[in-house]
Assembly symmetry: C2
Homo-oligomer: 383 residues x 2
């Protein structure tokens, strides 16, 4: 068994678990920093270790296009290429094909598209998506899925889901055929905003018996209530003894709320993307360090924060760096923001283990109110 359930919360669906991979154990609930192009933007792998990141995400679509499988293969896989020896989860590329590339045709066999870098024609099938992820040396591979747009009518959502389930089955078959140990394989629950489709999707995937289950087609522009609804209409049909992963989510209170709904794994570009815009996460909400009041502010981004940035630098100095477009500024905020997310997960794990998650959840969500940041939507470009 690759997943072990350690504690369950008496008042919610929150769980404290441990996922075992070839590159080490992952304590869940976990946040996975996004390393789209073989680097968590602006961050040195030594810093990821200092931040105690347990697992990072790589994007199959981007890495397949650039530097290409031949380069990553030549260097012995993604871990060795980027000098990260912890676990890596790769997405299947499906989401990017539908959000970034110029789509040409979806067929039963797979998806034809022109990539966004040089426009050249490409093809991805369920089997090739799995093979590429295995060749990268990924620890956790995601099945190829179609991610329908929001909003999406029932008819299209239903036929798209049917094909996505057939593709998932082919991915599962691919895994079963491997002689060398394949990555852990996660199915992806789709079904847009339709609870009955979400249920069908979850039940069918569970029948195929994956190592874990993701909830996809969220964070695509839908209101937060529909996002939570998608989680709530999928989770009851997923087995307790397998990890659940909400793809591309979310804000800090959303993560707390999704943990309460039984989710174990998260990835999101927000901490790195908002950093590049000068926005920092704090216990009470986001803070845009470009704002004038921080000009003479001698405090760290967040008082009491243990990250290197807060231990060393003032808001006033970071504001200057951002205003002057100095890259040290986004680097310092990126470190703080990743620390904030990773530390939030540590606090969530501690609270579940201590039986105090309910209080933690209530206090955190009520306290997180300030909003100085940008609007938040996943675009698939990993930025």
């Amino acid at each position: 068994m690759s997943f072990q359930l350690i504690h369950t919360d008496p008042d919610s669906n929150a769980r404290r678990g441990r996922l075992t991979t070839r590159h080490g154990n992952i304590e869940t609930p976990v946040f996975m920093p996004v390393g789209t192009q073989g680097t968590v933007k602006g961050v040195h792998p030594d810093e990821l270790r200092t931040l105690r990141a347990q697992i990072i995400l790589g994007n199959t679509y981007h890495l397949f296009l650039r530097p290409g499988l031949d380069v990553i293969g030549h260097f012995g896989g993604l871990h060795s290429f980027m000098k990260w020896d912890g676990p890596i989860l790769t997405d299947s590329g499906g989401f990017q094909v539908f959000s970034l590339a110029k789509l040409r045709k979806i067929t039963e066999e797979g998806v034809w598209f022109n990539n966004h870098i040089d426009g050249s024609p490409c093809f991805l099938s369920p089997e090739s998506a799995m093979q590429i992820q295995a060749d990268f040396g990924s620890d956790i591979a995601m099945v190829l899925d179609e991610c329908p747009p929001y909003p999406c009518d029932l008819e299209y959502a239903s036929s798209s889901l049917d094909r996505t389930l057939r593709w998932a089955d082919r991915c599962r078959t691919w895994v079963a055929k491997q002689s060398r140990q394949p990555p852990l394989a996660f199915g992806i629950v789709q079904g847009a905003t339709y609870p009955e489709l979400r249920e069908t999707s979850a039940r069918e995937l569970v029948r195929m018996d994956f190592d874990g289950y993701a909830i996809g087609g969220v964070s695509v522009g839908e209101p937060e209530t529909e996002m939570m609804q998608a989680i709530e209409s999928s989770e009851p049909f997923l087995p307790a003894e397998k990890p659940r992963y909400a793809m591309g989510l979310g804000t800090p209170p959303q993560i707390v709320e999704m943990v309460a709904r039984g989710i174990d794994m998260f990835d999101c570009v927000l901490p790195t993307r908002l950093a590049r815009n000068g926005t920092a996460f704090t216990e009470t909400g986001t803070m845009n360090l470009k704002n004038n009041p921080y000009r003479l502010d001698p405090r760290p981004i967040e008082e009491g924060c243990a990250c290197d940035t807060c231990q060393t630098f003032t808001r006033g100095y970071i504001r200057h760096l951002i205003k002057a477009e100095e890259i040290l500024g986004l680097r310092l905020i990126t470190i703080h923001n990743l620390h904030f997310y990773l530390n939030l997960m540590q606090r969530i794990r501690d609270a579940i283990a201590a039986g105090t998650f309910g209080q933690f959840r209530e206090k955190f969500v009520a306290g997180y109110v300030k909003y100085e940041g940008d609007r938040i939507q996943e675009t698939g470009d990993g930025r």
Copy 2:
């Protein structure tokens, strides 16, 4: 005495010295990384310490405009603002006023200009330039000078030099009047490409008795022979017991050659600027890591290099980062390039002390031949 001469080379004018400042001793010959806007671009102060940078440069013009003297003063000076506790040399802003700003009028009193950020009118006098640098908490302040363009006719160069000398005298007077300990003050030898003007400039500045002497108006687009000529026609008139600083220079072999001509201090944007373009310095010349042959190259930038980048990452991975426009790429090359420059100075100091500088110079300059980088010219924007 703030400067101590430790060794002199028997075969050239090279010197091994030690400059004492309020923030520590500087072993010369020394290279000063450029921190134009209160940060060495992309580099954390901890990394500067790991690289054993002894002193960094700050730009008065940029910092005066943004974040402004009130902000830097509020934070207790530039050292405290940027969390760098080693020595800082600041330029006077003269060079930037003439290269970046929209010049309005040069008068005997000072220079009127519109700054390049918001176009608002500004004024800088010899006294205000010194006062600003003192308020920054600079360890070494440069006098305000006019930096004439290249080429420049004798008549203009001569009248410009006369005014620059009168301005230098006012800076010296300003220093003498201070009750609190002022920064060390360096005069700047001007005189364009005219040896007789360079001699006059040097002799007059020495008569005023500064703590050190810079050679300015070099690296402004002139051929290398004229650059060396400017050094050679200034140096003989500078006292042995004071440090000499070649402003804005140069490539690695130029630095070795200028050390041989008696120069003790250097600053240059090349290691940081070329890094951002994907170009690295090596023992045999520059290397543009964007180039295709590095795609599958498993070697570090330079074999045997002790920098963190070369100890960890391959050329192939760094090439990928640069091609994918990932900022970790420029960060890794910046670290390597600064290490290269700082290590070159260490080797120069060791060679002078060991009496082997002549051999070192010959071997290094002959071996530095490959050129894959960009053309090199100082523009004053610190980039």
